[in-house]
């Protein structure tokens, strides 16, 4: 059979295929030449060893973002938490200890866990608006999490203003111990360990926790050297929020699994200022945050950071942070009795020092080195080692001191709660 051009059909088909493939290769080459890929890795090492406990957490993370066209960025990443240490398994206060002076009622349990958290998402851009969606999965021996995030960002008023709105929803599951049918929370027993969690093991059950998060922000350039940012965050948690492993002495001879309310609504409002002081070439960042939740925790945070270039590409930042919070409505260092603020506080009880009144002071420094290859005289994209369009290295060190107003371990105050946080980052674009 001959085609209209007098060539055999199979030869015409082959020519068309070759032409099509060539066009595809050319088109792909054009896209690839405009392609930007960014790889970032961050590592954080956290260590603290207050009285009778200790905790070391190593958090490595890597993210890859590819922008094949101006209107889209696709990203994927992975993060882990490698946890080891010892935490308080049975908590009591001074009143109980004074009644039982010969007993060391405080017990600790070793903690070893590995949280894996892969994530992926994309950003679509149209004009001044960008839409982002992402998904994060988290899994560890006793906790599983599915999280979705959607957000929109827009520039306004000649790009002097940015508004951003986002919503996140978590579908989490916490491993817990099956309790006796006739028992009530004051008689619930704590989870012994994570064996059998998320299996058909009869002694284990899943407790649901859903988290809805909403955030709105407004970033504003006021002058060529001064900008501000206002951020509002609201979060609604509904489900199991206790530490299933922790027991609290709630009465003489009675210890029970920690029992927190199921619902918690949290709100925070933060205001940041970024001001570049030209005479001394220093960028000053000032942050103030207020927080309140329905567990009656109120807190205030103040942060100050100063950063400047030492030489081209090399920046040094120093930062300080002060934090103060009140205790939860149901917080008590000892639920068995004693003078206020000790004594029972209604139907809930906790041994969580993060729910007690305290303040903390943090000091830290960060060094960042960014390399931008010098442009070629003949034009074209300048590349480092022939590959990277830019590269970044960073490292940081922070120390935080916590001071607890009421929290004790059987009357022994925690005076050496100091955390050390070391960070390292590297990133490159190509």
């Amino acid at each position: 059979m001959l085609g209209s051009l007098g060539r055999p059909a199979h030869r015409r088909t082959r020519s068309a295929l070759i032409a099509g493939a060539a066009s595809l290769v050319l088109a792909f080459a054009r896209v690839a030449s405009a392609q930007v890929a960014q790889v970032d890795t961050a590592h954080t090492f956290y260590h603290e060893a207050p009285t009778r406990t200790n905790m070391t957490v190593y958090t490595p993370g890597v993210d890859v973002a590819v922008t094949p066209a101006e209107w889209v960025t696709v990203r994927g990443g992975y993060e882990a938490d490698i946890v080891s240490g010892a935490s308080v398994a049975t908590k009591a206060g001074s009143a109980y200890q004074s009644v039982n002076p010969g007993v060391d009622v405080i017990t600790t349990a070793s903690v070893k866990d590995f949280r894996h958290s892969p994530r992926g998402g994309f950003t679509l851009r149209k004009g001044d608006v960008a839409y982002t969606a992402s998904y994060t999965y988290g899994t560890e021996n006793d906790y599983k999490s599915h999280s979705i995030f959607v957000g929109a960002r827009t520039d306004a008023f000649d790009h002097n203003t940015q508004f951003e709105l986002s919503y996140a929803r978590n579908f989490d599951s916490v491993c817990d111990r099956v309790q006796a049918v006739e028992d009530t929370p004051p008689r619930f027993r704590a989870l012994e360990d994570s064996s059998g969690c998320f299996t058909s093991e009869e002694r284990r059950r899943r407790r649901a926790l859903s988290i809805d998060g909403f955030q709105a922000s407004w970033t504003q350039a006021w002058t060529p050297t001064f900008a501000s940012q206002l951020v509002y965050t609201a979060q609604l948690l509904d489900g199991f929020q206790s530490n299933p492993y922790r027991s609290i002495i709630v009465a003489q001879g009675l210890k029970a699994q920690e029992h927190h309310p199921d619902v918690r609504v949290r709100q925070a409002l933060a205001l940041r200022f970024n001001w570049y002081l030209r005479p001394i070439k220093v960028a000053l960042r000032l942050t103030g945050r207020v927080y309140r939740d329905t567990w009656d925790i109120t807190s205030g945070t103040g942060e100050l950071e100063a950063e400047r270039y030492l030489v081209e590409g090399l920046r040094l930042a120093a930062r300080g942070r002060f934090y103060r919070q009140t205790g939860a409505l149901f917080w008590s260092d000892d639920y068995t009795g004693g003078e206020p603020p000790l004594g029972p506080k209604g139907q809930y009880f906790t041994g969580d020092r993060e729910l007690s009144p305290f303040w903390s002071l943090g000091l830290g420094a960060r060094v960042t080195y960014t390399i931008h290859p010098t442009a070629k005289p003949e034009g074209g994209t300048a590349r480092l080692l022939g590959i990277f369009t830019n590269a970044k290295l960073g490292s940081s060190a922070d120390v935080m001191q916590f001071s607890y107003d009421e929290y004790t371990l059987a009357g022994v105050p925690i005076t050496n709660a100091r955390a050390y946080i070391i960070g390292a980052t590297a990133g490159a674009a190509f």
């Binding site: 350039a221 965050t233 709100q267 939740d293 945070t301 939860a328 960073g394 960070g423």
Partner: protein
């Protein structure tokens, strides 16, 4: 209630101010565009630090958002 009204009036005033009276021209944004002026210069490192701190405090939220007010992200 009066506090709410005051906050609304303040927000509206600031927005009008931002929309009409304050204009930083593109050629004036070199400092704002510099990495040193980013509110969230290294999002991944900041997120990890916040994750560590959040686990030691009863509060949550109000974290930084990327950008430095240069309209160049």
């Amino acid at each position: 209630m009066e506090g709410h009204k005051l906050a609304q009036v303040l927000l509206a005033t600031l927005l009008v101010f931002a929309a009409g009276c304050v204009t930083v021209k593109p050629q004036q944004r070199s400092v704002l565009a510099d990495p040193i002026m980013q509110f969230e210069g290294d999002p991944q490192a900041s997120a990890q630090l916040r994750h560590a701190i959040d686990n030691r405090e009863g509060s949550y939220g109000g974290g930084g958002v990327a950008g430095g007010g240069c309209g160049c992200n």
